[in-house]
Symmetry: D2
Subunit: 338 residues, 4 copies
């Protein structure tokens, strides 16, 4: 921790900061510069609330040196984490994990057509939402438990693993019974009690980046899950919110290689919500794989124009199947399989 | 709803859109322009998912005409909503509602000193958090029920109303028993199940704007609460997240007069979290009142440097008391009292 | 300057950084922490390109301690700068400087009506653009020299000072001959050659904040002007670009007190471009004055619906005149005059 | 153009809007909805200033239907534009155009080493800045004409084409004499006079996206160049400014396929300025190519730690050479060559 004093800080103010640091059982090293005094702090700064220090009289600002997350850090665990879903299906290894299916579970026919299509295209994990967070209270909010059952039944029939969202601490048990991966949506990335509770299960959790979360906050959110005992976290970049309105969100792809440097956790990309335009989905999946994504979460719907949720960003099975073929040489070019 | 077709949309695509609109029992009016066809839709578009339309072949984009919120809209209810907390304390009327106190409830002495100070300065509503959402899992998370009890006991002794945050659906009952206003934090503005559940109580709810929420989403979040039966919503602007890092968040004050034009709900301002700097709190409170805010939620702590949470943005009782005096002529200048 | 090494930086890498710092004639102080080594640098870091250091092997990041601007800094000059326009008109003193008039100079009648109106309302400085930066090449770009002449002639007749924009280094001379304040628009805040050239004149310069500029970059832009010999810089907050689309830009008003703490330069606010809505102009002018703005730059147009530029954000003379009356008690409440 | 009236707009207000539209020689079609009246406008809306309409009494907002740019639009010109630099070097065709070299021209040795390295790696276009826009007035600003001469001489010796930045209208002639492509930097994307003047030359222009420019504004900036007679525009995505501070800017890669749908102009990517981290350059180049970029502009410096400008984002020749080899199969996988 580096404490920068104001230019005209008084001697007594500097001394008080030094004392405070000592009371925290850390070692202060005052450096008297040409214009300002800086106090470097030696020791583990993580348990210290930097605001304690920055609110002391005479302090201008405090800069932290250590990354605030530990369990998620590449410095703590060097080798890549590989999440094992059973039956040879993994996320984080050499094989790129494709997760595809409709945004929302709607009915048997839709699920059956979708499952067949994604399976044939080579996918191992099916997506489908039973609980849908909706900006407007007048929109379709999902089928709930009936949706979970339909997802599980259909996926089993086709030998697919499943991923589905959980929005409420009261639903964790039932969702965990029906799905292989618990998805935490972008609006809940900092719903800390939800993170804690999924942390108490051992189920793999896919954590979507908040639409205005920094990478640091994203990794700290994963830390909330891991600290409660669940190391099986998959990160998901899904686009951030910016001033640009042509695309729904802005897919900040540099997050992928950056997170792989900072953390050992696998990171996948959602090209559907990040762009909001079917015509941009295929190019952004290619870009994601090229820069090292460990997987893709994509909306595929047999009839986008009839979808009950986000139909305008889903691609059709034919298109998806053609794309999967195009991805093979691309994956090979970056030394991955698909 | 206005449906803009692509430049080279085929006749069959246009016809399909027209049919789809008719099936929704709305009236399509096709307009054949020089370059594109536009289909205007007459009727109540709110129950329609615009994504259904925008995913039809040949559609370029869909623009909605009606505001997506109803209950929160000034068009639905002309006169200002005034929230009554009992004992003559209101939010939304001519008198500006000051809510002051520490960020987190810590101990008896801190609460007693704070309550005394804010009461003497003329405040009627005391703040104090018992459940604290924290970015890092290693930070102080609040005293929970013990904190609620301490807040209630201290406030009662001084004849103050109370406001405190609720983060979890499972805690709504206990929080509602101990506080006069339920606060929904910025990270939970789109925690829809939490909104629904507080909507089922009749307790006044203070809803903080999400740090990257548009004004439309902010009002739609209040709609989630109102639609479930609770009309007592107080909106709170607390700064948005932008590229600027000198201040913690950017207080987008134009939200205040804008929301007052769009909605009948009262709107207050939190100058502490929005700036993150005590030296900016007083000027921003003045600015808020000058542009029409119905109240202020401010961190006041007897010993900011010892605070367990966000001490670096709290102001001291002496400073707050002086400020309250300065606010009187200012409030009068915009025809309000304080 | 604080240099944070990577966790596993090698000894030779640390030594090379120390040597490099010494070659720059600064004093390195290595601090060996529990996880990382930090090298504090003592001396004037400003002439050093931090990227030199951050690109050395083993360096994780570099944090600067001193503010990068000097001439604009409050630390360099304690007392407020007051810009003297002659005839008793100033910017930066106790009296709030109102600058009002149409966005673009259009014709004699429009200018005469505007000048009369703003003069009668108590304004001392008239605005009017002769060169207009326009996003689309198909929009009205201003009358050029004829516009400058019309502005000067009309203002003189009414005893008003003038402000107008200069966009091109080749126009500085002619603009300086016709106006009292040279305005640098938001899109040119980092047009460094333009800043340099206006820095070589002694004319007061109003520098608008770039719509995505940080406060640091804003002050550094003023430094470009001052370093070339012109200390007469007036800063202007005009809103920043964010994700929110309800208002044209977001007026980040905390910039006003923040800049007054960091710098001695006067800062004014443009409520017209920052909101883009006439109905928000009056409340935001009030808020600006309440938080300490030294002046206001506002679009007033006798016939907004016929304006050749930005008519949708101008207010009418009647409305402006009424507002000026309302501002008097408000200014008094914050110990200013208007 | 779609004009949405306020909910309680008066009949006379609606009639005035209709008359105004007729005076503009466009055809108004009023649509009386359940809550609001909407007036659709048929005809070419582009020459109309929408603010004229939106400032009329009773108008709530105006939505434009046609894209505001014409010459840059894919609707105007279907086939891809290919820029011919002579000697078989092109930008926009099947072959991906690599532009590499140091950020700033510094001295003969640096230029010679760089030229040799990039030529051997298979590059055809060399970059090198002689005029450098710098945030701080205390930073190195480039060698000027001497830099241009050094760039030209070195490039010629190695049979390389050149690209270099022009910041000032007064320098266009001399830069055009020494370079094959004129670069307009991100801070000058809306320096409209500079755009106009490079539009009057016939030299290829590389236009960098403003760091907070929308895609619409980006294409409108290219329109300023094209409208003045120069169709040879190359667009360059270089990252946008957001709240995230881990990377210098955020590379919004979806811009690439989006721009290719909206426009016929070639678009390339700058991975160096967009990330600011050498370790992210290679993955982001791969991602750019995978999603369809027509070229790459990359900082390569023989000694990043001694660079006079942005050394911390340059990659070394060895690394670049290795990367070029890895790009070949990747380019092939998306049906391109390199």
């Amino acid at each position: 921790m580096i404490i920068v004093m104001r230019k005209f800080a008084e001697k007594s103010e500097i001394e008080r900061v030094i004392e405070t640091v000592e009371q925290l059982e850390l070692k202060p090293v005052p450096l008297y510069g040409i214009e300002r005094t800086v106090i470097a702090v030696i020791g583990d700064e993580r348990p210290v609330d930097e605001h304690h220090i920055s609110s002391l009289p005479g302090v201008d600002r405090v800069m932290t040196v250590l990354d605030p997350y530990k369990l998620a850090s590449r410095e703590t665990k060097h080798e890549d984490t590989i999440i094992d879903l059973g039956d040879g299906v993994t996320v984080g290894g050499k094989k790129i994990a494709m997760m595809a299916g409709p945004c929302a579970v709607e009915n048997e026919e839709q699920m059956e057509t979708s499952a067949k299509a994604v399976k044939e295209a080579g996918v191992e994990i099916m997506r489908g939402g039973a609980y849908k967070p909706r900006t407007s209270p007048y929109s379709f909010e999902g089928l709930g438990v009936a949706g979970l059952e339909l997802l599980q039944k259909t996926a089993k029939r086709h030998g697919l693993k499943t991923i589905t969202e959980v929005m409420d601490v009261r639903d964790i048990d039932v969702v965990a019974q029906h799905a292989d991966i618990l998805q935490i949506g972008t609006r809940n990335m900092q719903n800390f009690n939800l993170l804690k509770e999924v942390g108490k299960t051992k189920k793999p959790v896919l954590l979507k980046r908040g639409m205005s979360a920094t990478v640091k906050e994203f990794l700290l959110a994963s830390e909330h899950i891991m600290k409660n005992g669940n190391p099986n976290v998959i990160l998901c970049e899904r686009g951030i919110r910016t001033f640009e309105t042509e695309t729904r969100n802005k897919l900040a792809l540099a997050t992928v290689p950056l997170v792989k440097q900072l953390s050992h956790l696998p990171i996948i990309v959602d090209p559907s919500h990040s762009t909001g335009k079917p015509s941009l989905v295929a190019p952004m999946i290619k870009a994601s794989i090229a820069c090292g994504a460990d997987g893709i979460l994509v909306d595929v719907h047999p009839k986008p124009e009839a979808a009950l949720c986000d139909g305008d960003q889903a691609i059709r099975p034919e298109e998806f199947s053609k794309l999967m073929t195009e991805l093979k040489p691309l994956a090979a070019a970056v030394n991955r399989t698909i």
